[in-house]
Amino acid sequence: MVELKIRAPVQPKEHPDPSEIPTLEPGAMADSKPYSASEEHQTAIGFPGELVDDWKERAIAKLGELVSTSRGLRVYLDTCVKCGACTDKCHYFLGTADPNNMPVARQDLLRKVYRRYFTFAGKYFPWLVGAEDLTEEVLDEWYSYFHQCSQCRRCSVYCPYGIDTAEVSMAAREIMDSIGKGQKYCNEIIGKVHKYGNNLGLQEKAHRATLEDLEEDIEDETGVTVRLPLDEKGADILLVTPSADFFAEPHIDGLIGYAKVFHQAGASWTMSSYASEAANFGMFIGSHENMHELALRIRKAAEDLQVKRIIFGECGHAWRAAYNFLNTLAGPFDFLDQNYPIPQHICEYTYDLIEKGELTFDKSQNDHIRLTFHDSCNVSRASRMGDEPGGQFDIPRAILRATCNHFYDMPADTIREATFCCGGGGGLLTDELMDLRKKGAQPRMRALQDVADEHGVTHMAAICAICKTQFAKVMPDYGFDMDSVVSVHQMVSNAIVLDGQITDDDDDDEEKAEAPGNGMDAAEEQA
């Protein structure tokens, strides 16, 4: 008997559209909210311990204060014409289908109250202009939905008026903090930075022990003594990096990458145990006072250690805060070397060395990786790197291409200034918001699936501590390994050839043989 082997016709792979508009599910995320800050967390950073009795009056007064001191905020609240351009641009809307997560609708939760108390029409004819009283119900909506915005500003890119929606979310959180309705995750962390110098609560002894441990690891791996100096007075460069770089995976591989670059460049550098945090969560809650105080720690560390330059490690919103505000919050930095950017990003530093031909890479060390790059929202839409427009997009990619043979970008409407947030930014990287985080990651995960299917991409690099943690946590839900997110400087660390380094060991070869996607046609590669 003849056995017929029938092969199913080859179907082109279907790629779910990252920007696919969901069928609306009103109220789908109404119950999503972060844990409340305790009295201790609130008072430690200058806010009332619990909801004050006259919260309504004080909230309205605070809103009035904010719109009178921030011309920008007033314009953002006044100018929206409800054109709808932003409605389908938010990753949380796309992932949750809750219409209140359309940026226009979320902002309107604050805007309708502003209109009621601060505009002529809203005061006298509220029903005509969608103005509403501030009630307990409205306050609860604020708490829920302003903690469903990661302040990533993707919607702002598409707004014809350029309304900065992040500013609206920050203002809402600032008002809530001022009446005693704070969020635990951010406020506990800010308190820890005031006390210990970093988000983790890492103290000097543990900090030093961790760095020494990493020095041992590098020496074991490469045979080269690479230092990770702490509190070394008189060093040229102060590196300020997120404390996740001292704790989490794959962040710590990025830190090792910075150290190897500094070593190979012969740079004199140090970290500080006093300013052991690049992140500035004061920005997430819209608190100028807290932002200011956190920024001053960096200035004090730079002065005390008598450095000439400040360089920031891989942290998205830290770079936004540093690039835009470090000089106004903690400047002038006239004691630093004015020949270098103040502050400078580690990617700028590494890229400059690559351009000068001062670093040697063995790209084959990353041949087990087929890579794409996730543009972090705050770096993309709120900062720049280098001297050219778009440097914040091109410089990290140039570093990755210099260190890896297989690089592929995700679809154009999901990268660069159109990048999707990881789903955990803006002070939402907390476990009780996991449902929101997983749903919010959907557009990015779909874009990644696209290049995984098309080009066999196995890994995604990021330059933000939040993005790295968020992806490591949510990727398994989308069918990717938790370690398929890597640090940009991890790629550098893998490929950099240090002077005197011992050559490949057998372990590397084994890893390469096991790696998925290995052996795909290199001709597919993009130029």
């Binding site: 820890k192 022990a209 938790m482």
Partner: protein, 110 residues
């Protein structure tokens, strides 16, 4: 929000982390673990004990890499990796193991 153990009450926060660290006991660890659907084995105890020793010296949980290295030393290469630690503590060795060990939750972008 509390654990009940031998007629005594140990307060915990919204996520199950105990508030007073000196109230921890091995029995309590078993109770917390059961709450997390984890049955404590020798391997779990190896991790928990290391975390507690490290915390005593440094007042913080160790970096994941430091933990892995220690486990590699005590349990061998097969078990000294992140994936194995996740099989022991499915929600992540840093947070879930700290909770069972009676240590504060690691905070920040981690």
């Amino acid at each position: 929000m509390s654990y009940q153990i031998n007629g005594t009450t140990v307060e915990h926060d919204e996520e199950g982390y105990i508030q007073e660290l000196d109230k921890w006991s091995e029995q309590l660890a078993e109770v917390i673990a059961a709450d997390e659907n984890i049955e404590m084995t020798d391997e779990h105890w190896e991790v928990v004990n290391f975390l507690r020793d490290y915390y005593e010296e440094y007042q913080i949980a160790p970096a994941v890499r430091v933990l892995i290295k220690a486990i590699k030393k005590s349990m061998g290469k097969d078990k000294g990796n992140n994936k194995y630690l996740y099989t022991l503590f499915p929600y992540g060795p840093a947070k879930q193991a700290c909770k069972i060990a009676g240590l504060p939750k690691p905070t920040g972008c981690v």
